[in-house]
Amino acid sequence: MQEITEVRWHGRGGQGTVTAAKIFAETAMSEGKYVQAFPEYGPERMGAPLRAYNRISTKPLSLHCQVTNPKIVAVVDATLLGSVDVAEGTAEDAIFVINTPDDPKKVRETYRIPHGSIFTVDATRIALETLGKPIPNTPILGALARVTDTISKEHLIEDTRVNLSKKFSPEIVQKNIEAITRAYEEVRGE
């Protein structure tokens, strides 16, 4: 049976969640994997809840249906925790990476996440301190590189550089890489 790692991203419009899913896929591809990255498109508005998905495999991917049972859940905006069931469809061994100043224990108790491993990182604060803007997508990627074996930090930094250089100045690219590195160090488990 083909081993496929599925990822679900929860964010709000304008936080770079779709870009994060794209960088995640490109990083996995540069590690020789087959990838998919696709957002769930609805009415596109700043601040509206959105989801994006990844599939990563060592073999070619042919599935073109929604991701319903993700192994990894990345929550880019903690204000979604109260209104969206981020654990929906996940199994016992799921990995949750959540952008919040709270520790994993508090998140588990407050939002009653029944299973899986919870990791938290204050990605918004890291983004504000490095980028000067509350765009937490690159720090979340740094945390994912730390707590999953799907992507490595080295490839992530490399692919972020390539990807963001198309749109942003070298200074901003460097700040994003700093954000990744800090989140990689600061992410906390239970």
Partner: protein
């Protein structure tokens, strides 16, 4: 080996257009195809192509400009979706009737009302009688490969017909996947120089396009169009063969998967074929003899070839991502079932209409189709000729 990249279906297609470097491209943006023209417009602005880009005020005008440019003698391309294709309607027939090999990407999407921007084949299927060759793609790689082949098919002297290449809106157009691009030079050599027939701009040989053609000749011209569709079949296969020699990727009128020893099969087109293949692998592990036919070329319809490929089956499920209201079933079903009528015995054929307006077709849905096929296989009875899958009823 091509260059491995990760990109969306739309960006892959825009890159194919860059490598094809058409003379004229006239378009009007509509979701989910907008990104194709947006990216291609960047290529034009950056001087990566020599194309004259015409930003029209509607899709009707976009196709009209394509027709004018193609009649003048240019290699012409465009892209659209859904209601954009619908607005082109009368011009589609004028493009094919004038035998102009325009190549168009159709990012397949549902038609309004109610408004829906998601993946659905109602747009392309509605244009199935417009005289355009129709090729459907499973993924971004196929959308890219099909577009390059479409140029060579349409411009062939035996064919001279417009070609539309479909890919599923959002599911493919906006999903990032791995694919391989050919080099610019490989594409340039593969498509060759464009040789216009009877161009309007050749003032030494004045010609007229689209004149009055009443009872006396219209029928003969339509008969010639039908003949061109027939002649397109060997051309499509020859172009696929040449493309395989170049890329290593094989194409035909359709692709079969685990079909040779199958007793049952699913026939589908577009992105759902990939999900079906995954589910068929699982069913095979359980000893269920089920296979897949992924239809690539819907026009010209490969009737004889489907008869040869499907005759040994006991039961066949045809999947339609489009309804044909009031008909016996969806458009693919009606044609496939008709194709198998002459066979004796012929498989029991049932229809599933699924995924309208982007409704997800999941693993469990295809498992249900396989269970239904097993029941038909065992009992020899068809309980439901047409089932609406993925619908709350």
């Amino acid at each position: 080996m091509g260059k491995p990249v990760a990109m969306t279906g739309n960006i892959a297609v825009a890159n194919a257009m860059r490598q094809i470097n058409p003379d004229v491209c006239a378009a009007y943006p509509i979701t989910p195809s907008t990104e194709v023209m947006q990216q291609f417009a960047s290529f034009v602005a950056d001087g990566k192509v020599d194309t004259e880009l015409v930003t029209a005020e509607s899709e009707h005008s976009a196709m009209s400009a394509c027709i004018g440019a193609a009649a003048a003698g240019g290699r012409v391309m465009t892209a659209t979706s859904a209601n954009g294709l619908a607005l082109m309607w009368e011009m589609l027939y004028i493009a094919s009737g004038n035998r102009l090999p325009i190549v168009m990407t159709v990012v397949n999407r549902a038609l309004s009302a109610p408004i829906n921007i998601h993946g659905d084949h109602s747009d392309g299927m509605g244009a199935r009688d417009s005289g355009w060759i129709q090729i459907y793609s499973e993924n971004a790689q196929e959308a890219y490969d099909n577009l390059i082949q479409a140029v060579v098919i349409g411009q062939h002297r035996d064919v001279r017909l417009p070609v539309m290449v479909g890919m599923d809106g959002f599911i493919i157009s906006h999903s990032i996947e791995n694919l391989e691009l050919l080099s610019d030079q490989e594409v340039k050599d593969f498509i060759g120089e464009y040789l216009p027939l009877y161009p309007l701009l050749n003032i030494k040989q004045p010609v007229t396009y689209g004149p009055l053609d009443l009872q006396d000749y219209y029928s003969e011209h339509k008969r010639q169009q039908a003949e061109a569709m027939k002649l397109a079949k060997p051309v499509i296969l020859k172009v696929a063969q040449d493309f395989a020699a170049l890329s290593g990727r094989k194409y035909g009128f359709f692709e079969t998967y685990r079909l040779d020893d199958a007793e049952m099969a699913i026939l589908t087109l577009g992105s759902s074929a990939g999900t079906a293949r995954f589910v068929i692998d699982r069913a095979r592990e359980q000893g269920v003899k089920v296979g897949l036919i992924k239809l690539r070329v819907f026009r010209p319809f490969p009737m004889k070839e489907l008869q040869a490929a499907l005759g040994h089956l006991k039961a066949l499920a045809v999947m339609d991502r489009c309804d044909s209201f009031g008909a016996a079933g969806g458009p693919v079903f009606s044609e496939v079932r008709s194709a198998l009528y002459d066979l004796s015995p012929h498989p029991a054929v049932v229809n599933y209409i699924y995924g309208l307006g982007g409704r997800d077709l999941g693993i469990a849905h295809i498992e249900q189709v396989i269970r239904d096929l097993q029941e038909i296989r065992q009992t020899g009875c068809i309980r439901e000729l047409l089932t609406y899958l993925t619908v709350r009823e």
